[in-house]
Amino acid sequence: MVVGGPVLIVIADVIIYLLLGKLGKRSSGKGNKYQPFTGGEEDIAPRGLYQSELFVFATLFMVVEAFVLLLAGSFASPTNYYPLLFLMGGGGVILLVTWWLMIVGGVKF
């Protein structure tokens, strides 16, 4: 159940989320109703681009920290299987998510 338990929870979670979707209606489109909240100001700012180096370093920090943590935690492992699994699973997920954040934000390398 080490793998089955989390998978079971994710499945139950998604099913409940989809079922709850039946309670309320969903809408998307264009116009004032669908603009982000501006606090009463007229000009709606576009999505900000990642121009700040600090923010890029912060996201990189998250990735590197996860890798270091996973490697450091493997000290008691009897085989290479667990640290590799954690690296591939955990580190991979964080890397992909961070990559998404940077691409959507328009990061310039």
């Binding site: 159940m1 080490v2 338990g5 989390p6 079971l8 929870i9 994710v10 139950a12 979670d13 998604v14 989320y17 709850l20 979707g21 309670l23 309320g24 209606k25 969903r26 809408s27 998307s28 489109g29 264009k30 109703k33 669908y34 603009q35 982000p36 909240f37 501006t38 606090g39 709606i44 700012a45 576009p46 999505r47 900000g48 700040s52 600090l54 923010f55 912060a58 996201t59 920090f61 998250m62 920290e65 996860a66 943590l69 996973l70 935690g73 008691a76 492992s77 667990y82 954690f86 955990g90 997920v93 964080i94 998510v97 961070t98 998404w100 954040l101 959507v104 934000g105």
Partner: protein, 323 residues
């Protein structure tokens, strides 16, 4: 046997149990805050308003979901259940009815550390996917705050593992049979509670969702079911982190053995666990209510200049003394 384990994972002492604890914490927090501010707090839904968080959740779930024009629609809609999944998965590694959790392996503490990182990352993703100006500002604050509290949080969590020579939560709980780790590593416990406040975005570290400055923070654009799910995740994280503190520093459900009957003893373990859980929960929401918000620079400086050294000193002492 497998059916029983599935019921344990989904119902008790797994997901559903912790969701209800989260609701209960939400209600207690509101009540405590109200009493400390001379108000009555929730009174309408259920006795003394105890069902108010449940009513709020279903009210939100039944409202219209408005997807902003600029939002990344997929993440905006399906991010909230992923955000919820992280602490939900963590709950099955917490021992509640005895020294063993429903699911355990020799590295589950590592998995929990990953879950904590993933929760912060999902919040960042959700805020950025929404695309509003307040969300973007909030995400910046969230990431900066995260870089401040994450290191001491991890050091504080690793200290019990070093004390127990074990990376499994079960193993750490078992190592506290005679003496709780809060006695052997008190600084780590303090650091953990402070970092928990930051992880949960509670005062004085509610900087990413400072209502008076940036509306609803990274949650500003969310409505209906996604918002309900995000709020539910926050309640669940509250319960999960408190339970983690109980497991790593207060001996988990362990306590004096009074019965030879295993069922009665399990109930006693459960009672020990609940008392400790509510003590930690009460500690967190009392601190939260008593303190005012600080600035982001002050928070990061505080974490790097005070909290991180404290956590490292405690880890150093533990390693040097060889406890």
């Amino acid at each position: 046997m497998i059916n029983l384990q599935i019921a344990e994972i989904l119902l008790f002492p797994g997901l559903t149990f912790f969701v209800w604890i989260g609701f209960l914490f939400d209600w207690l927090e509101r009540k405590t805050q109200a009493r400390m501010q001379g108000r009555r707090g929730p009174i309408l839904a259920g006795p003394h308003g105890i069902l108010q968080p449940v009513a709020d959740f279903f009210k939100l779930a039944s409202k219209e979901e408005i997807i902003p024009e600029v939002a990344d629609k997929f993440i905006f809609l399906f991010g909230p259940p992923l955000f919820f999944a992280a602490p939900a998965i963590g709950t099955i590694f917490i021992p509640v009815l005895g020294p063993h959790a429903i699911v355990n392996n020799e590295f589950d503490l590592l998995f929990v550390l990953f879950i904590l990182a993933f929760t912060a990352l999902m919040a960042t993703m959700l805020g950025y996917a929404a695309g509003g100006r307040w969300s973007i500002i909030s995400v910046g604050r969230l990431v900066v705050q995260y870089t401040g509290y994450e290191v001491p949080l991890i050091v504080a969590l690793v200290t019990p593992a070093v004390l127990a020579h074990n990376l499994s939560i079960d193993g750490i709980v078992a190592a506290q049979q005679n003496l709780w780790f809060i006695v052997r590593a008190p600084l780590s416990f303090i650091v953990f509670i402070i970092a928990t406040l930051a992880e949960l975005e509670k005062p004085p570290f509610d900087i990413p969702n400072a209502t008076t400055e940036i509306v609803g923070g990274w949650m500003t654009e969310f409505s209906g079911r996604p918002l309900g799910y995000i709020k539910l995740t926050k309640d669940l994280s509250y319960a999960f982190l408190s339970a983690l503190a109980v497991s790593l520093f207060l001996g988990g459900p362990l306590g004096p053995v009074l019965f030879t009957n295993s069922t009665l003893q399990s109930l006693l373990y459960f009672a020990y666990f609940m008392v400790k859980l509510f003590a930690v929960g009460f500690l967190i929401f009392t601190i939260k209510t008593a303190l005012a918000r600080i600035k982001i620079g002050q928070a990061v400086r505080f974490f790097w200049m005070v909290i991180t050294p404290l956590s490292l000193i405690q880890l150093g002492i533990v390693m040097a003394v060889g406890w």
